[in-house]
């Protein structure tokens, strides 16, 4: 594999919401920008076919006291792991980004006004702007192109190259053709926006690894490559679980307008009895493990119950699902003659994936490595999903361009020993005639994660055993993985990334000797008040992993 070489000021890794927004703002700052996208930016990532809720602070709707909205987000399902200054900066700029999107042609006001609907507690402000995002990627790719951003599709990035603590470039594998091509990109700044990490834990139905709520081609590349490059990851020990229709993990529960009920039809939570589009039922946001708890206790199944939902609200809900990109689900319900006026739908808790757990950023969107930025779902100390990606992508891209202006010339990324090492690894994987498929390695990873760093029980002995098995798996995978074309090589590399994410989870889960939220330590079955306001980071140095505690920023 002889590398092709490309130079730019700012390399954006991932052409999703965060990546495209970063690329646009970097281009507006005069930078030469390349977006390297694994698939095709017009329909890639978790926002591929849409979204319908955009977290936003609009003073004319919410009033001038932003602290009310800060409290609302910290209490919400996305609020557990924020450095509050990042939340405040996000809120200050969120309406500007919503207005940009509206002006570019993403319908942020489908009813003609800025309407905040759903995902709210009774009597509290609503923070999710309901929008029509089914064509958001098409709009954003066009806007990026208009600003001179060059997007290279089918180019997953495997590594960032760092020299003397500063980023100098990246390695990618061009997978457009049958035969993969190694690509070397020299860049002054790199923005990571590769989305969530799925396929870490077993999927909603056995054997269907791609049955995930978020994009199953998003596999923690940003967290893994940042970690390998020495950047700090944060909050990796906390599993995040999504919920939604049983065994059909596309999208989730957010857009459903119903009440969660038990088999006898009684509401499970205290918030609503008759669902409306304004409120829905926020019970599962607060009681994250509701569906699993109900099932395990024998009191289940628990259902999403739309039988009392008004006809007009049901119409509205289906419209929301379409804008969210969930047309496969609603077309299936139609084909199967499932009538939500009569039929409740069983829900389940999905296994953990990484969102809002990962790269630690500062107020510039920069990681602990100079010139390496991250935005959107792979950030570990802030989370606001689509809106978070839009706002922090924009901030990170602008700052990446400003930094690039100060750096005189691109470094010699090609001289990095990492290039030779990865070239050798990938060539070996491609040249083996026999060996393990990427699926074997991925399933092996999932069973280790589920059994030794699962959501039910964790302990020092289980975690230590699991970490040992995980490292054995990495070694075995590197020694035996085989791929016969660009596609399967890409999947093999994704699996190796996931193994690195898994390692960071094991190391931090061992270090947090308490039970907090979904991190359940049977050997420390209590929450330690001394750790309540502490974030735990992990980074690599000289081949070893270093964990460090710090105060959560207020």
């Amino acid at each position: 594999m002889d590398p092709r070489r490309i130079d730019c000021d700012v390399l954006v890794v991932g052409g999703g919401i965060a990546g495209l927004m970063a690329a646009m703002n970097a281009a507006e700052h005069g930078a030469r920008v390349i977006v390297a996208e694994k698939a095709h930016a017009r329909r890639s990532g978790s926002g591929a076919t849409g979204n319908d809720h955009f977290f936003c602070y609009i003073p004319e709707v919410h009033g001038d006291d932003m602290s009310v909205i800060v409290r609302e987000v910290l209490d919400s399902m996305i609020g557990g792991f924020h450095d509050t200054p990042l939340t405040v900066k996000f809120l200050e700029q969120s309406f500007d980004r919503a207005k940009d999107w509206d002006q570019w042609g993403i319908n942020m006001r489908p009813t003609g006004t800025w309407a905040f609907i759903g995902h709210a507690f009774p009597g509290r402000p609503r923070i999710w702007l309901k929008y029509a995002g089914s064509d958001q990627k098409e709009v954003l790719t066009k806007q990026a192109s208009k600003r001179g951003v060059r997007t290279i599709n089918f180019l997953p990035i495997t590594d960032v190259i760092v020299e003397d603590g500063e980023v100098v470039g990246a390695i990618g594998i061009h997978v457009r053709k049958e035969e993969p091509e190694l690509t070397l990109i020299r860049a002054k700044s790199v923005v990571l926006g590769t989305g969530t990490a799925n396929r870490l834990y077993p999927a909603a139905s056995p054997g269907f690894m791609f049955n995930t709520a978020f994009c199953s081609a998003c596999t923690g590349a940003a967290q893994a490559m940042a970690y390998r490059a020495g950047a700090k990851l944060v909050n990796m020990e906390f599993p995040n679980m999504h919920a939604g229709p049983k065994y059909f993990a596309r999208a989730g529960k957010a857009t459903w307008i119903g009440v969660v009920t038990d088999p006898g039809g009684r509401p499970v939570g205290p918030f609503v009895e008759k669902p409306t589009k304004e409120l829905g039922d926020i019970t599962a946001d607060v009681w994250n493990s509701l569906f699993a708890d109900m099932h395990k206790s024998g009191r289940g199944p628990a259902y999403m119950d739309c039988r009392e939902t008004a006809e007009s609200d049901l119409e509205y809900m289906m419209w929301g699902m379409k804008e969210e990109g969930n047309t496969a689900l609603i077309e299936y319900m139609e084909a199967a003659n499932i009538d939500l006026r009569k039929n409740r739908v069983e829900f389940m808790q999905y296994t953990p994936h990484l969102i809002g757990r990962g790269v630690e950023i500062d107020l510039n969107g920069e990681s602990s490595i100079k010139g390496l930025y991250a935005a959107g779902d792979p950030v570990g100390n802030f989370r606001a999903d689509i809106a978070g990606a839009a706002v922090w992508g924009w901030i990170a891209g602008g700052n990446a361009a400003i930094r690039a202006r100060k750096v005189r010339s691109v470094g010699n990324a090609e001289d990095s020993p990492l290039v030779a090492e990865r070239t050798r690894q990938f060539s070996e994987i491609l040249s083996r005639k026999n060996g393990a498929t990427w699926q074997e390695a991925n399933f092996a990873l999932q069973q280790i994660m589920s059994d030794y760093a699962g959501m039910d029980v964790r302990s020092e002995t289980l975690l230590k055993a699991g970490l040992k098995y995980l490292r054995d798996l990495r070694r075995n995978a590197l020694d035996t993985l085989r791929a016969d074309n660009a596609h399967t090589l890409m999947r093999a590399v994704e699996t190796l990334d996931l193994i690195d994410c898994g390692e960071a989870i094991f190391i931090t889960a061992l270090e947090r000797r308490e039970t907090r939220g979904p991190h359940t330590r049977s050997d420390f079955p209590f929450s330690n008040p001394l750790l309540g306001n502490k974030f735990l980071t992990v980074r690599k140095e000289n081949g070893g992993a270093i964990t460090e505690w710090r105060d959560k920023l207020k």
Partner: protein
């Protein structure tokens, strides 16, 4: 298991193969009907249907695999412990009744704004609707479709 291409109406434009977020298709040369090469890797996002220029002629459909045939519905119990009737399963109603082809309205009536905002879901447009299971005889062996326009391509791509 995902996308199923109808070779009779697919024109081989290749859009589905290019925009698939999980790279399920083989991207063949222009004019070739894409091959669903990695069906296990479908995310069921429907992007290939949404972007198919020939969707209305049924050029592509999404097949939901058995384990995902969800909507574990109809097992609800009433207050005294008897299973509830499986009304919806045998009815012919869509999730919400009759959806109309066309676009969701941006403006809405005052009453609709007050409640559902007049926003409705419309299924992706198709000329030929899905055949319901009981309206025709079922052949034991699939018949060859007419009007093949290209060959399924297995090699490397050129565009």
């Amino acid at each position: 298991m995902p996308p199923v291409i109808n070779e009779a109406t697919c024109t081989g434009c290749g859009i589905c193969a290019h925009i698939c977020p999980t790279d399920v298709f083989n991207r063949g040369p222009r004019g070739a009907i894409p091959l669903v090469r990695y069906p296990d890797e479908c995310w069921h996002c429907n992007a290939c249907l949404i972007d198919c220029p020939e969707l209305q002629f049924g050029a592509i459909e999404l097949r939901i695999p058995l384990p995902l045939m969800l909507l574990h519905v109809g097992a609800e119990f009433d207050a005294v412990g008897y299973p509830a009737p499986r009304d919806g399963v045998t009815s012919t109603a869509s999730p919400l009744g009759q959806a109309q082809p066309g676009q969701a309205a941006r403006s809405a009536t005052p009453e609709a704004v007050a409640r559902g905002d007049g926003l409705r879901w419309h299924r992706l447009p198709r000329v030929g609707q899905r055949r319901s299971p009981d309206d025709a005889t079922i052949p034991l062996r699939p018949t060859k479709v007419n009007g093949e326009k290209g060959e399924v391509h297995h090699g490397s791509e050129t565009h």
